[in-house]
């Protein structure tokens, strides 16, 4: 009997070795370990054995059974590995085929840039203040120290709105966001006319100029202004605030310079140039070979403007600066035609 068990084990292990497929393995399991297998017959015929033989043969048969089961498990694992490897090698994709996409939405590039600017301003304590796009001449010009017929008005060619009996106060499309300075100052001053509170606001919005529409000029464009009014605000503070802003906007290393300039509603006024980030200041087409890019205009709020806003210029001072998000994008992303912005060609919009 012992011999017969050894024989069974030997033969089963031998036939197991040549098996390469799951089906053959299943057949092997049935013929080797199934109910009618030779090994099981040994267990079935157990009763025929003598009392002395039983423990010996029993132990031997159990050992063979365990050995074959272990061999089966090893073989099964090996087969699984082979099968997996085979299927992995057969399932190789051409990963260069395009992926399945979705129709997605994006913000208009101007909105994206406005958000960048306003986010920086918000961190600096300047809160968003918005006002209307159609204005009266007094708010858009006169209160901002552009008297009627003043040559400074030549700087801002204006769209007028048809209206009668308006005298010296016609209705127009605002030429800048600065009317918001007057609206805001008056609103803040009204809360405490004797001692108006300090102001720090950001004025974003669409502005309009009478221009021909060309690659370089548009009839409408966004502007963002920063305005700070308080009791101890100086030109040196203006420089510091703008230096902070420019570093956040254009990078740590951005070099800038202040050039004296003129805006009717600020004095002293300055224009700020940042070293050309396209060529690093060496001179290129974008900076017209000057190495500098004009990025914003600024100045101390003019005494007349403070007065018109309800802030006594003998006590209060302030500064304002303004910039164009579309111009920033034109520089940043080499947009060579300003007409792209309101043209809304999806092939342009998709690039932001």
């Amino acid at each position: 009997m012992q011999d017969k068990l050894n024989e069974i084990e030997q033969a089963a292990l031998e036939s197991l070795q040549s098996i390469t497929e799951q089906a053959a393995l299943d057949a092997w399991r049935i013929s080797t370990l199934g109910r009618s297998s030779a090994l099981m017959m040994v267990f079935a015929e157990f009763g025929k054995l003598s009392k002395e033989e039983r423990p010996v043969i029993g132990a031997a048969a159990n050992r063979v059974k365990a050995a074959l089961e272990a061999a089966l498990q090893i073989k099964a694992e090996a087969l699984k590995t082979v099968v997996l490897a085979k299927s992995l090698s057969e399932e190789k994709l051409d990963i260069t085929l395009p992926g399945r996409t979705k129709h997605i939405g994006r913000l208009h590039p101007s909105t994206q840039q406005l958000r960048r600017v306003l986010a920086i301003l918000a961190e600096m304590g300047f809160q968003v203040y918005t006002s209307r796009e159609v204005e009266t001449d007094d708010i858009n010009f006169q209160m901002l120290n552009f008297p009627l017929h003043h040559p400074a008005r030549d700087m801002q060619d204006t769209f007028f709105v048809e209206a009668e009996n308006r005298g010296d106060n016609p209705i127009l499309m605002r030429t800048h966001t600065s009317p918001g300075q007057i609206h805001a100052m008056r609103e803040f001053a009204a809360t405490n006319p004797q001692n108006p509170p300090p102001i720090r606001i950001a004025l974003p919005g669409m502005c309009f100029r009478y221009e021909q529409i060309t690659a370089r000029s548009e009839i409408q464009f966004n502007q963002v202004e920063g305005l700070a009014v308080g009791k101890n605000i100086t030109f040196a503070d203006l420089k510091g605030t703008i230096a902070d802003f420019v570093r956040r906007m254009f990078g740590e290393g951005a070099r800038l310079r202040f050039r004296a300039s003129y805006f009717p509603f600020t004095e002293p006024s300055a224009e700020v140039d940042v070293e050309c980030f396209v060529c690093g200041g060496k001179g290129c087409q974008v900076c017209k070979n000057s190495g500098w890019l004009e990025i914003l205009g600024c100045g101390m709020v003019h005494p007349n403007v403070l007065q018109n806003g309800g802030y006594d210029p003998n006590v209060y001072s302030g500064f304002a600066w303004g910039m164009g998000p579309e111009r920033q994008l034109m520089l940043r992303n080499k947009v060579n035609d300003i007409r792209y912005f309101w043209g809304n060609d999806v092939r342009f919009l998709e690039q932001f």
Binding site: P98, G105, E164, R209, G230, G240, D244, A260, Y262, V346
Partner: protein
């Protein structure tokens, strides 16, 4: 405060001219340009016409836009032509015998302006010319535009040619020329041309408040302040003879506000001829066309000092006065009065225009343009020279009215100080005497009824500290201002600064203080002012909930796959009328084009135009815009309500190489996005009502969106007849428009619903109802009956079939049962039976098994 269109006018200043008034030795042209730029006189471009140009090594920083050429000092020199000979083989060419200071040369030329001298033998007086040797780099005189070339040896019609006499174009002095340059007789033969007339021209933007610097002396004065070098003011000295001008001419000013000063001088026996070459060259560099020595003298003095001058033919005036004393007066024009100006145009005048007149009538439009009758001609012998001061606003309006921009009106419309009138007239007379051999009459007629205030401003170190943030002593403040010719008196801690009599931009009081502080800052140098952090208290922070809410709305729309667009506010009634019926619009009085003559009233029309433009560019488009529309209010400011418009058209899903089919977007795609948008805004109690009152929408496929009885917006499929008016594809076009104020006000603050702790039971039920029963009615009855136990009801199928029966439909719902404990199947069954029962009662619904 933008950077667009804010440049002042460009003033062209030759460096050589500046050097008449300030020593610039040791400063490069770039140094000069940089100093001016930082002080507010921005140099846009430097044109080199002879002087050495900076050569940038690779990687070196440029500073200015530059143009032009430098003249090689070895190769381009002053030479003299001694004889003009015929060319043996070409009629139109000549051969020049020329001496270049070292040796004789034979030079071939086709220049027309010496052609007449051909064959006249040795010239009695040699002609001085600009001579370029082989290898010189010049502009090609025959090419279109400015093209550089190197002068090479060649044979032209059998004659060896290796050098040339140059025209202005070839040397980059002007962009065109019709002959060679003929230099003044005094030109030193052999001298490098660059040393003799080499120059560089600065294009300087003159800001509106810097009219005083629209002159060579003005710029020199600024450079004097910026460098500390002395300004060498023009020395005006001349002899006079004959009768005094006061005996011959009188002046009467009728309105001093409009004409604060009028000065006139007289010069007799002028010889009219072209000006000397060095004068012509400077005028050309400054952008002026040389005419003759008298006209040139007025222009030259104007560019130098900033005072426009006007020359009258004295004999014409004398004739008009019947040989008696000439009585000049200035007055406003009568309405409809006519005057023919120098440009030959007959001008019809209005009482806004100021005229210079004599007893017979008008002579010129003051400060803008002279009349033809009294202008200086080739025959003029005696000249009456006017230098006046005018009201700058009046001149600006007059120049605009008659569309007559000129060098004179540009300066007058920015404000020229009356003090300069006298200096200007004297300078003009001096040049006329020098250049035209005239005899200046003694004296001037000078009416000066309104002197400017030239305010005195009190500045203290405290003011400087408070507004500029720098500590300066009174003495230092005075020093900075004195450089700009303010007359300063320091008294302890105050500076009394009197405005110099050449500028009109300093006001009085607190504004004057700001004006003067700007000058302190400029003189001190903006770069020298420190960079500080605001010490002032941070104001109370005020949020802008409307702005923040709109940004949130934008984010939701983007997340829903909708692309933002921004369109023009200006449009046309025709464009909008494709979907609207408005006739009242906010109209632009001066539109740039007929298709942009009103402000938009429909944001839907705006987004549809963008859809139309892009429709062929993608298989699917979904666009939105957020912004104002403009509702007209007669003769007043319009209302600017803010709107949201959405449009979609095309395929529902993106196709791919293995996904070839997709349904087209329809009503329910738009509705689904709106539902998601409104739930993103946390709107509850939203109802959708079928509407037929929106003409641009399909009557059967449109809905109004209502919350608490308030219509927030409308959406649907574009009406086929509206769609026809656009070039859109075959797919349906969906549009939606919301009023943002109403939408925002409907959005509640909300608390979240806790996520249930116990597992729910899901169940689907399908019922058969009449076609007329609305899905929303069934849904609300289910919700009402289920109460809190039914946490969600979702319609997942609508089915029609013969088996169900005609006029019937099957609605299938997914229900979620939820309780504060574990919901069992039998709990759910109880609720379901209740629901089915009510559906049977209310809608005669039948449960499908």
């Amino acid at each position: 405060m933008t950077l667009r269109g804010e440049k002042g006018e460009i003033m062209k200043i030759p460096i050589s001219w500046l050097k008449d008034f300030i020593d610039l030795d040791g400063l490069s042209i770039e140094d000069i340009a940089r100093k001016l730029t930082l002080a507010g006189m921005e140099v846009d471009e430097i044109l080199y016409a002879g002087l050495a140009m900076p050569i940038y090594k690779d990687g070196e920083k440029h500073e200015f836009k530059t143009n032009g050429i430098a003249w090689d000092r070895e190769k381009i020199v002053v030479a003299e032509i001694r004889e003009v000979k015929a060319h043996p083989n070409a009629d139109r060419l000549t051969l020049l015998d020329l001496f270049d200071g070292q040796q004789d040369q034979v030079v071939l030329t086709g220049a027309p302006n010496i052609f007449d001298l051909k064959g006249t033998g040795k010239l009695a007086k040699p002609i001085k010319v600009a001579y370029a040797k082989e290898g010189s780099v010049l502009y090609d005189g025959h090419a279109d535009g400015l093209q550089l070339m190197t002068l090479k040896r060649a044979k032209i019609r059998g004659v060896d040619s290796y050098s040339m006499v140059c025209s202005e174009k070839e040397l980059g002095i002007s962009t065109e020329s019709d002959g060679i340059i003929i230099l003044d007789d005094a030109a030193p033969v052999g001298m490098p041309l660059a040393d003799y007339i080499g120059d560089a021209v600065l294009d300087i933007s003159i800001l509106p408040n810097m009219a005083r610097n629209a002159s060579v002396v003005g710029i020199a004065r600024e450079l004097s302040a910026l460098t500390g070098r002395e300004l060498q003011k023009p020395t005006i000295k001349f002899k006079t003879s004959g009768d005094s001008v006061e005996d011959l001419v009188s002046i009467q000013i009728t309105n001093a506000e409009l004409n604060p000063r009028f000065v006139a001088g007289l010069i007799r026996n002028v010889e009219i001829k072209p000006s000397a070459y060095h004068i012509q060259r400077r005028l050309k560099h400054a952008g002026q066309r040389p005419i003759n020595n008298i006209v040139d003298a007025t222009n030259y003095a104007m560019i130098e000092l900033g005072q426009p001058l006007h020359a009258f033919d004295y004999d014409v005036l004398k004739e008009r006065a019947g040989k008696k004393k000439i009585k000049i007066s200035t007055r406003v024009a009568s309405d409809g009065e006519k005057l023919t100006t120098l440009d030959g145009a007959e001008r019809t005048l209005t009482p806004m225009n100021v005229l210079v007149c004599d007893e017979k009538g008008s002579l010129s439009i003051a400060g803008v343009m002279g009349g033809t009758e009294s202008e200086v001609t080739e025959k003029t012998k005696n000249v009456l020279l006017e230098g006046a001061a005018w009201n700058f606003i009046n001149i600006r309006r007059t120049a605009k009215q008659h569309n007559l921009p000129s060098e004179a009106s540009f300066r007058f419309s920015r404000g020229v100080h009356p003090a300069v009138a006298e200096t200007g007239v004297k300078r003009g007379l001096q040049y006329m005497a020098e250049w035209a051999n005239g005899n200046i009459a003694p004296g001037l007629v000078d009416e000066y009824p309104l002197k400017p205030k030239d305010p005195t401003i009190i500045v203290t170190p405290q003011d400087v500290k408070r507004l500029l943030g720098i500590e300066l002593t009174a003495k230092k403040i005075a020093e900075l201002l004195t450089r700009l010719e303010f007359k300063c008196v320091v008294d302890k801690n105050t500076v009394k600064a009197k405005t110099p009599p050449h500028r009109m931009d300093i006001a009085e009081g607190v504004v004057g203080l700001a004006d003067v502080l700007e000058e302190v800052a400029r003189s001190y140098g903006y770069d020298n002012i420190p960079v500080t952090t605001m010490a002032d208290a941070l104001p109370p922070q005020v949020g802008n909930p409307i702005h923040e809410w709109e940004e949130h709305l934008r984010d939701l729309l983007v997340a829903l796959g909708v692309q933002e667009v921004v369109t023009y506010r200006m449009t046309s009634v025709e464009k909008e009328s494709r979907i609207t019926q408005y006739t009242e619009y906010v109209r632009i009085a001066n539109p740039i084009a007929p298709e942009k003559n009103v402000l938009r009233r429909s944001l839907t029309a705006s987004v549809l135009s963008v859809l139309e433009k892009n429709i062929r560019l993608g298989e699917s488009l979904a666009l939105f815009e957020i912004g104002p529309i403009f509702e007209p209010v007669k003769n007043n400011l319009p209302n600017e309500p803010r709107k949201l418009a959405i449009t979609m058209s095309g395929l529902r899903d993106a196709t791919a190489w293995d996904v070839k089919e997709s349904a087209t977007l329809d009503f329910f795609d738009m509705k689904g996005r709106i539902e998601l948008l409104l739930s993103g805004l946390r709107l509850t109690g939203v109802t959708y009502t079928s509407t037929e009152s929106t003409p641009h929408l399909h009557p059967g496929k449109s809905a109004e969106i209502t919350v608490n009885g308030q219509v927030l917006g409308v959406f649907g499929e574009l009406h086929p007849s509206a769609k026809e008016k656009y070039e859109l594809g075959a797919s349906p076009v969906l549009v939606a428009e919301f009023d943002l104020a109403l939408l925002r006000k409907s959005a509640p603050t909300y608390g979240i619903i806790p996520v249930p702790e116990f597992p729910p039971v899901y169940e689907d039920i399908a019922i058969i109802v009449d076609e007329s029963v609305l899905a929303t009615a069934v849904e609300s009855l289910i919700k009402q009956t289920g109460g809190r136990s039914v946490s969600s009801v979702r319609l997942f199928d609508v089915y029609r079939d013969e088996k169900i029966g005609a006029g019937k439909k099957s609605l299938a719902y997914s229900l979620t049962y939820q309780a504060e404990k574990t919901m069992t199947d039998s709990d759910a069954a109880t609720i379901r039976n209740k629901i089915v029962k009510r559906l049977e009662n209310e809608f005669s619904a039948k449960l499908r098994s």
